[in-house]
């Protein structure tokens, strides 16, 4: 058992209640779609996993460690085990595609040989071969998004969190990216993916958590909501 949420609420400093009494249990190796309308709280929920935001109320345990009580110095260790695709990509403007990815590996202390092998590998996986030396400003929106995916995959994380990883991608490339995620999930990585792409979710037959106004309104296998 990997993640437990107990009555988690999040109220942002400006008074917005983004999460409202969320309880949740995610087993190791699960694949979960987080759905819900714009502003429902998907990104907020997802940010709890790597402690970008801290709950206003409630408790979160990851691998039995409380994230709320965790010391500041322990946070990096937590994050090293999580690969994150950010909704707004968060690429470094003055690093090339390769550098953005190898950077993420250097941060967690990977050794140089591994980096040299792994970086071209993930670039190939997301279909960006030939763009290694481009800066983010020289990429199309979808290409930037795929760099974000590649970076998250690079460290072979125990858990992958992807916030809207296909928003700028057409259906063909989206499907390819999904295949990547299913693949690493098969190899043991827990995957949590926030998305709006109904056609992807529908095809997947995975666990789906639906959010509305910060509350979980349903949590089950796919398919039932769309018929």
């Amino acid at each position: 058992m990997l993640v437990q949420f107990y009555n988690v609420s999040k109220i942002y400093p400006n008074g917005v209640k983004a999460l409202d009494d969320i309880s949740l249990r995610i087993e190791r190796g699960e694949f979960i779609f987080l759905m819900g309308s714009s502003g429902a709280g998907k990104s907020t929920l997802v940010k709890m996993f790597f402690r970008e935001e801290i709950p206003t109320r409630g408790q979160i345990f990851i691998a039995s460690r409380s994230i709320v009580r965790m010391k500041r110095s322990e946070v990096p260790k937590l994050r090293r085990n999580i690969g994150i695709v950010f909704q707004d990509f968060k690429l470094l403007e003055n690093k090339t595609v390769s550098e953005n990815i190898s950077f993420a590996m250097e941060v967690v202390g990977a050794n140089i040989r591994d980096i040299k092998i792994r970086v071209p590998e993930v670039i190939e996986m997301v279909g960006l071969k030939g763009k290694e030396k481009c800066f983010p400003g020289e990429l199309s929106g979808g290409e930037q998004q795929r760099v974000g995916v590649a970076r998250a995959l690079a460290n072979r994380p125990l858990m992958l969190i992807a916030d809207e990883p296909t928003g700028n991608l057409d259906i063909r490339i989206s499907t390819e990216i999904m295949e990547l995620l299913y693949d690493i999930n098969r190899k043991g990585t827990t995957v949590i993916m926030a998305t709006h792409a109904q056609e992807l979710v529908r095809a997947a037959h995975k666990r789906i958590i639906m959010l509305e106004n910060g509350r979980i309104i349903s949590d089950s296998l796919a398919g039932e909501f769309f018929l």
Binding site: F50, E52, S73, V75, P76, K77, L78, R79, R80, I82, I84, F86, K90, L92, N94, K95, A104, E106, V107, V108, G109, R151
Partner: protein
């Protein structure tokens, strides 16, 4: 771990120096200008100080001797004075010599004091220099009590005035240096803060993908040292060139001899260099912490 990563840190720092050209340039030029101004201020006050010292060490005590002393009594008085603490130099001025000086001062042949005056009315005297000019008053007091001395002259009021002025100039110099140093520190810190501010998203991202605070800090530190040292180096080269040409230009003017002791100068230059580097790191450290704690 840190040693293993050092190579990465240095590469990262150098890379970032090149990629963030505007930020690097801004930091280097700010450090240069600040250190340059600081250096000029230091050199100016050092020179003012040495000028003051020379002025002060010109202060003399003149002990007038009684008329009817035998030459051995004169010698005894001289020896007694010479043995006193703090006396650096003693010169005997005979009354003949004194008359001669007077004559020179007043001038033409027409007034030959040697002939117009029946007997030389001037006294013999000793000119005394103190090792430390500030002891002049004390020494004068002691000299006054020496047997055979009937009056001591050391420009009483003037010396105190001079010392007052030099004291004030020294105080102001120190205040000036302190202010300029403070200014330099703040300027450099401000620029580094802005430069790091421009890269706050980079720092935020590093944190989000699991970098420890120290892992984030190291490349910035190395960058800070490099930028600080580079800036200081530029300043020092400019300072060296400028000051050297000033020395050679003023060489002919005896009175105005500039401080040129290579040991003192290199001490100044090295301190300036260290100031630049240390400020580079310190500014980085403080600014970084502000953005890391978010």
């Amino acid at each position: 771990m840190i040693i293993k990563n050092m190579l990465y840190f240095i590469r990262e720092a150098l890379n970032s120096l090149m990629r963030n050209r505007l930020l690097s340039f801004a930091t280097i030029s700010t450090v240069s200008i600040s250190i340059l101004i600081l250096g000029i201020a230091v050199l100016m006050t050092m020179n003012a100080g040495s000028f003051m010292n020379r002025l002060e060490s010109d202060v003399e005590i003149i002990a007038f001797l009684e008329k009817n002393l035998s030459s051995s009594q004169i010698r005894d008085a001289g020896e007694e004075i010479e043995k006193m603490d703090g006396v650096k130099q003693l010169t005997f001025v005979s009354k003949k010599e004194a008359l001669h000086r007077l004559q020179e001062n007043f001038g033409g042949k027409e007034y030959n004091l040697g002939t117009t005056i029946g007997e030389n009315p001037l006294p013999n005297s000793y000119e005394i220099k103190a090792a430390d000019p500030h002891n002049v008053a004390d020494i004068a007091k002691k000299v006054e009590k020496v047997h055979g001395v009937y009056k001591v002259n050391y420009g009483q009021g003037v010396v105190e005035k001079l010392f007052n002025i030099t004291k004030w100039i020294r105080v102001i110099s120190v205040i000036f240096i302190v202010l300029v140093s403070l200014g330099a520190v703040l300027l450099i810190a401000t620029t580094i803060r802005l430069a790091i501010f421009a890269r706050r998203k980079e720092i935020k991202l590093m944190q989000l993908i699991g970098a420890t605070d120290w892992f984030i800090r190291w490349p910035f530190f190395i960058e800070g040292i490099l930028l600080g040292s580079l800036g200081a180096l530029v300043a020092i080269v400019l300072l060296l060139l400028g000051y050297d040409s000033l020395i050679s230009k003023t060489d002919s003017i005896y009175f105005f001899s500039l401080l040129s002791d290579p040991i003192i100068l290199s001490k100044i230059y090295i301190s300036l260099f260290l100031t630049g580097s240390v400020l580079g790191v310190l500014g980085t450290y403080i600014s970084l912490n502000r953005f890391l704690d978010v």
